[in-house]
Structure formats: structure tokens, C-alpha cells
């Protein structure tokens, strides 16, 4: 049984299902209840954008507001995970990671290895990513490359509500620390989502569109822009395959390589900044491992090497568009023609 569900409500539903199933699942974050101690409604907010609304009413003390202390409460989530709980901590915007980065990359990520395999840290850190909200330089970043760089972390970035639900459930059940990235500009996006619980395994990319002529590899919001680009190109007779990575760490390299071996052309699309990005990661891996399959120079489409601008006019051109992506695809095709 499925029904239309928004990306945002899929987060809520996954949390609800797992909290119901497993009493060790607890939630914490700033205003995820949203009204603690205040004279009016105790759970007025349910998260700054209402994502966790209703969970406090249902699960009570297992949903906790926190003081404004990211190091302390993200660290506490990690510590509780090392002690047998399954905390899901919300870092409101991933941009705030600078206030708790040590706990994430030096503690959670390294416990298992550093302790000789004797620790498990099943913590999930949910965070909003992405530009387009007119939220300016400190509330609009991706930072996915930074967390992906760190061994010991798993990184999840769903593009739609179906994946949100299955991947968040998997994240909570997973025994490693997971950074679960929610693109704020997808919160209202709806797709069919089953009522029942299901988990999507990590490291399995989706192929929302098959094609023969070129492979776009991407994730998050850019999946939609890429599909738009692919549709445009289809009208021009170019048949593009779009790969939605879904998880950035682990990566489904097999699917990527297989596709490029089929199409011979790669376009890596990333909303993050260009340097040491997911786009460069994909491109480099493919260049090394499927070099002979490449018919033309792989192309990267990323945000520019600049902070996210506030002004809507600038922010709109800051985020890679379907046009830019289509342009990059064409580049891979024209090149080949030139070469041929």
C-alpha cells in the first residue's frame, strides 16, 4: 500500500516507525520538540521546519530538545550510541558542523578502528543540506565531500521520499555512524511511498532513468535537475542515463562503472563546491577504472568555488541548472563527434 508522501514526512515516518520498533532509538536536537519549558505549547515546533512534529506527542521523553550546544549533544548522541542506544541527533543545518566536528570525525568515525573493532557506534546525525532557500553562506552548504572524505562515516543523501524512508530506516539500524543529509529544497517533494516499513541497503545506487548515450552520476537535488536535463536532451535525440548514488559512503562504484562502460560518457553533477568534491571523486574513479570505456572527456558540473550568495539572482545561478547539466552532456557528445 503506497500513497503520496513528502520527503519531509518520510523523515518523520521513518523516525516514528523505528522508534516504535526499537526502544533504544532516541531523538535529540535543537527544537525538535520545540517548546520545551515554554509557557505555550510544549511541542510547538517539531523542528525548525516541522520535520519531527508529532513525535514528542507519541514518544514522549525519547524525543529531547537540547541546549544550544552542538558539541555537547552531538557528542552525547555518539557516547550514548557507544553505550548501546541508537540515537538520532539532528544537526539543524549541516553548516553547523563546525561546532561539533571533532565529535563526528575524531570520535564517532574512529572509535571502531582505533579500538581494534571493539566498539560499535550506531548513531545517526540528520542534517539539512543545500542551497536555494535564500539562507545565505552559513545555512546553505552541502559539505557532503567533507564527511565523505572521513573513513568510518557513512554518508546518505536521498533524492526522494521513497529513498528517505528506506535509507533512514537503514541508517538507524546500521551499526556505524551515519551522516544523513536531507536536502531542504526537497522537503515538499512527493512520491509514492509504501505504508509499511522497509530498509534500503547502503551502497546501492538507483537508476531513475536508463539511457545509452551518456551517464550522469549525481545525488540529492541534482538528481532532479539531471532528470530535467535528460528529458530536454531526449527531445534532441540524446539518450542519457541518470544514476542517483543515494549513499556517498559507501559508494556503488559497480553501478557507475557499468553504466559508463555502456555509455562511454560521464557527467558528474554535484551541488557542492568543485575542489575535492563528490564530482571530482566520481570523475577520478571512473578515469582510473574505466578509462578505456570513456569516449570523451568526462565533465564535472558543480557549484562554483565561492560561498553561497544571499541575493536570489545570484543564488539561482549559483546552483547548477538543468541547462548547465545539459550543456555538459552535450560537451561529452560533441567532443566524441569531433574526435570521431
Amino acid at each position: 500500500m503506497a500513497r503520496k508522501l513528502s520527503y519531509k514526512m518520510a523523515v518523520n515516518e521513518a523516525l516514528d516507525l523505528e522508534m516504535t520498533r526499537d526502544p533504544t532509538v532516541i531523538l535529540m536536537g535543537e527544537d525538535i520538540v520545540g517548546g520545551a519549558g515554554s509557557p505555550g505549547e510544549d511541542d510547538a515546533w517539531g523542528g525548525v521546519l516541522g520535520v519531527t512534529k508529532g513525535l514528542f506527542a507519541k514518544h514522549g521523553a525519547r524525543v529531547m530538545d537540547t541546549p544550544l550546544s552542538e558539541s555537547a549533544y552531538i557528542g552525547a548522541a555518539i557516547g550514548a550510541a557507544a553505550c548501546g542506544m541508537r540515537p538520532v541527533a539532528e544537526l539543524m543545518f549541516i553548516d553547523f558542523i563546525g561546532c561539533c566536528f571533532d565529535e563526528i570525525f575524531n570520535q564517532a568515525a574512529k572509535f571502531r578502528y582505533m579500538f581494534g573493532g571493539k566498539a560499535e557506534t550506531p548513531v545517526v546525525i540528520r542534517a539539512m543540506i543545500g542551497a536555494g532557500y535564500r539562507a545565505a553562506a552559513q545555512h546553505s552548504q552541502m559539505l557532503t565531500p567533507i564527511v565523505t572524505h572521513i573513513p568510518g562515516l557513512k554518508v546518505v543523501c536521498p533524492s526522494n521520499a521513497y529513498d528517505v524512508k528506506g535509507l533512514l530506516i537503514q541508517s538507524i539500524r546500521d551499526n556505524d555512524p551515519v551522516i544523513f543529509c536531507e536536502h531542504k529544497n526537497l522537503y515538499a517533494h512527493e512520491v509514492d511511498v509504501p505504508l509499511e516499513s522497509y530498509a534500503i541497503p547502503f551502497g546501492e545506487a538507483a537508476i531513475p532513468r536508463e539511457g545509452r548515450d551518456a551517464t550522469i552520476v549525481t545525488y540529492g537535488l541534482m538528481v532532479h535537475r539531471s532528470l530535467e536535463a535528460a528529458e530536454k536532451l531526449a527531445r534532441e535525440g540524446v539518450d542519457v542515463e541518470v544514476i542517483d548514488l543515494r549513499t556517498l559512503s559507501p559508494m556503488d562504484w559497480d553501478t557507475v562503472i557499468e553504466s559508463v562502460e555502456k555509455t562511454g560518457r560521464l557527467i558528474a553533477v554535484d551541488e557542492a563546491h568543485p575542489r575535492c568534491s563528490i564530482a571530482s571523486d566520481i570523475t577520478a574513479f571512473v578515469a582510473q577504472h574505466a578509462f578505456r570505456a570513456l569516449k570523451s572527456a568526462p565533465q564535472m558540473v558543480t557549484a562554483p568555488h565561492s560561498p553561497v550568495p544571499f541575493s536570489p539572482t545570484l543564488e539561482d545561478i549559483y546552483i547548477p541548472s538543468a541547462e548547465t547539466i545539459a550543456g555538459a552532456v552535450k560537451k561529452t557528445i560533441i567532443q566524441k563527434m569531433v574526435a570521431a
Binding site: P67, H305, L314
Partner: protein, 327 residues
């Protein structure tokens, strides 16, 4: 007109009133225009807290520096940032204080000693230690003031900074603007201790309270602290109890507040009304004089909105400008 019982001369009182009124008018106008959909992004209004910014900034000059918060309009205006530039910035225009690149949460004007509103809670505290350090090396008597809310008071970097400022004996004042809420969370939930002032002792710095709805209370208390800091006496912590008239940000339904809370506060704890009552009752300034300022301020804000709306958008070709000084 009778003798002036206040610690500020008449010109100063008029200036202070104008500052507070300018902030209030700026914010009330943003509230309306945001609701209309004219303004993009996150907008956090300072209305209700004007006496704090003003009571402090009346002691400062351009050599003194402040590091502000996400709720920074009031700090900007009272520190002398151009209102037209601010309004244009909030509208994302090329004529904005930051060429439209920063928006409401990132207005800065270093030439005025305004080191920036900040989207990261507590981030101003370390920065202001740097400003204090620079002033100390220059020996110019400058001070630095950082602001943070009752929520941000629990950020590690704020707490660390108090110790650092004490260790280096920096001319820095830490101002906690306690408006009772961090977003929707009550101050009483998020902070285990009744008074932030109690934290001073743990860092070896004096801590004092002020009623943040009373310009004179803030002005006098902070004046002592600033004087002490300028003379090499070191940092201090000031907690001001204030009221946030609007929601956390524009669009907030505020159902976490008590019924009638906003109305009560508007009626009884409005720092502008309190100021007006004091100065008129003392017979130092007349209602007519203040009304005249109100009129001028209303015009200024109206004009700033009109020119912000008319101003050009940033040019797409400048998307990558100013990432570096030169690249």
C-alpha cells in the same frame, strides 16, 4: 524644561531615541514586507530589544568593535551602519551593505566597527576577543562588545572566550541578550542556572545584570564596564533581560508563547514607551520633539524601502567576485 536628571545630555537622549525608533521602525516594516512576500530568506527581528543595543552603542565610536548575532539589525543600526544599505542588503540588492551577498544574517560594516551579524550562534565571542586583542596591541583604548542570546550563551565558544578574554585581560564585554527563548525553547529549559551572570565568577570576570527594557539601566551599567575595559581593567559579562516582540524568525506562529504574552509585553514592557515616559515625565524632552523624530524615522525607513526596491540586482557576472582579495 527642567534640569536633566539623566546621565546623558539632551542631544544624546534625542540621539538614543532616534536610534531606538529607527530600529523599531525598520523591524516593524520588515515584518510587514516579509508577510507580503517581498523579502527572501531568514529574517530575525530585534524589535523589543532596542534599549540594549542603544544603551551600549551610545558609549562607542567607530574605533570600538562589535560582533553581532543572527538578530543583528538593531546592533547594526545603532553602530552606525547605513540604513539604506541595510535595507538594500535585506532585499538582496547590489546597493546593499554587502552588495546583496550576505543578507539579513550577515550585515557587516568594518569601517563602522561592525564585524558582522552572524548565522552561527556564539561565533562572535572568539572574534571579539580578536578585536580586543588588536585594540590592546594598538593601545588605542578601543573596546569590543559581543552579543549572544540566552540560547547561544550555552555555546562552548562563548564560554571559552570568556576565559581567554580574562587570561589576556582583553577590553571585551560579553553581552547576553536574554529574551527568554532560543527559537521555541524556553531559556529555563536550555540553561540549568537561573542567572547567566553567575557564570562570570567561574571565568574570573565580573558579571552584572541589567533590565534590558530600560535604556538608562543598560546605559549606566555598561558604561562602567566599558570604562573599566578601556582603562585596562579587563573583560566583563552583562546579562540584559529583554523582550522579543515578534517570533523567532518571520513566519513563526509563536504557539510556544503564553496567550497574551506579546500583547502584555507590548503594552507594559516596551523599551521605547518606557524611555518616552521617563524623558517626558522628567520634562527634559517633549512629546512633540519625540513625535518629530518618529516622523523623520518613518520617512527614512520608507525611503530606504523605496530605494531598496528600486535598486539594481547584483550582476550574474559577479557571482565569483570577492571570494579572495585577489586570486
Amino acid at each position: 524644561m527642567s534640569d536633566n536628571p539623566f546621565p546623558v545630555d539632551k542631544a544624546g537622549l534625542l540621539e538614543a531615541y532616534r536610534m531606538m525608533k529607527t530600529i523599531r521602525e525598520f523591524e516593524e516594516r520588515l515584518h510587514i514586507d516579509f508577510a507580503k512576500g517581498d523579502i527572501p530568506g531568514f529574517v530575525h527581528l530585534y524589535a523589543g530589544e532596542e534599549a540594549v543595543a542603544t544603551g551600549i552603542m551610545m558609549h562607542l565610536n567607530d574605533r570600538d568593535r562589535i560582533a553581532s548575532t543572527h538578530r543583528g539589525h538593531g546592533h547594526c543600526i545603532s553602530k552606525g551602519v547605513d540604513v539604506h544599505g541595510m535595507m538594500a542588503e535585506i532585499y538582496g540588492k547590489e546597493t546593499g551593505s554587502c552588495l546583496g551577498r550576505g543578507g539579513s544574517m550577515h550585515i557587516a560594516d568594518l569601517s563602522k566597527g561592525m564585524m558582522g551579524a552572524n548565522g552561527i550562534l556564539g561565533a562572535g565571542a572568539p572574534l571579539i576577543c580578536g578585536a580586543g586583542l588588536a585594540a590592546k596591541f594598538r593601545g588605542d583604548g578601543g573596546v569590543g562588545i559581543t552579543f549572544f542570546g540566552d540560547g547561544a550563551a550555552n555555546q562552548g565558544m562563548v564560554l571559552e572566550s570568556m576565559n581567554l578574554a580574562a587570561v589576556w585581560n582583553l577590553p571585551v564585554i560579553f553581552v547576553c541578550e536574554n529574551n527568554g527563548y532560543a527559537e521555541a525553547t524556553s531559556r529555563d529549559y536550555g540553561t540549568a542556572v537561573k542567572s547567566y551572570v553567575d557564570r562570570g565568577a567561574g571565568f574570573g570576570i565580573p558579571g552584572v545584570h541589567a533590565d534590558g527594557t530600560d535604556f538608562f539601566a543598560v546605559y549606566e551599567v555598561v558604561g562602567e564596564l566599558i570604562k573599566r575595559a578601556r582603562e585596562g581593567g579587563g573583560p566583563a559579562l552583562l546579562e540584559c533581560e529583554v523582550i522579543r516582540f515578534f517570533g523567532h524568525f518571520e513566519g513563526d506562529a509563536q504557539t510556544y508563547k503564553a496567550k497574551g504574552e506579546n500583547e502584555y509585553n507590548r503594552a507594559n514592557r516596551d523599551c521605547l514607551k518606557i524611555f518616552r515616559a521617563k524623558v517626558t515625565e522628567a520634562g527634559v524632552i517633549s512629546d512633540a520633539e519625540l513625535d518629530a523624530i518618529d516622523g523623520e524615522v518613518a520617512e527614512l525607513i520608507e525611503d530606504s524601502v523605496a530605494s531598496a526596491k528600486a535598486a539594481p540586482l547584483p550582476s550574474p557576472k559577479d557571482l565569483m567576485s570577492n571570494v579572495y582579495v585577489s586570486y
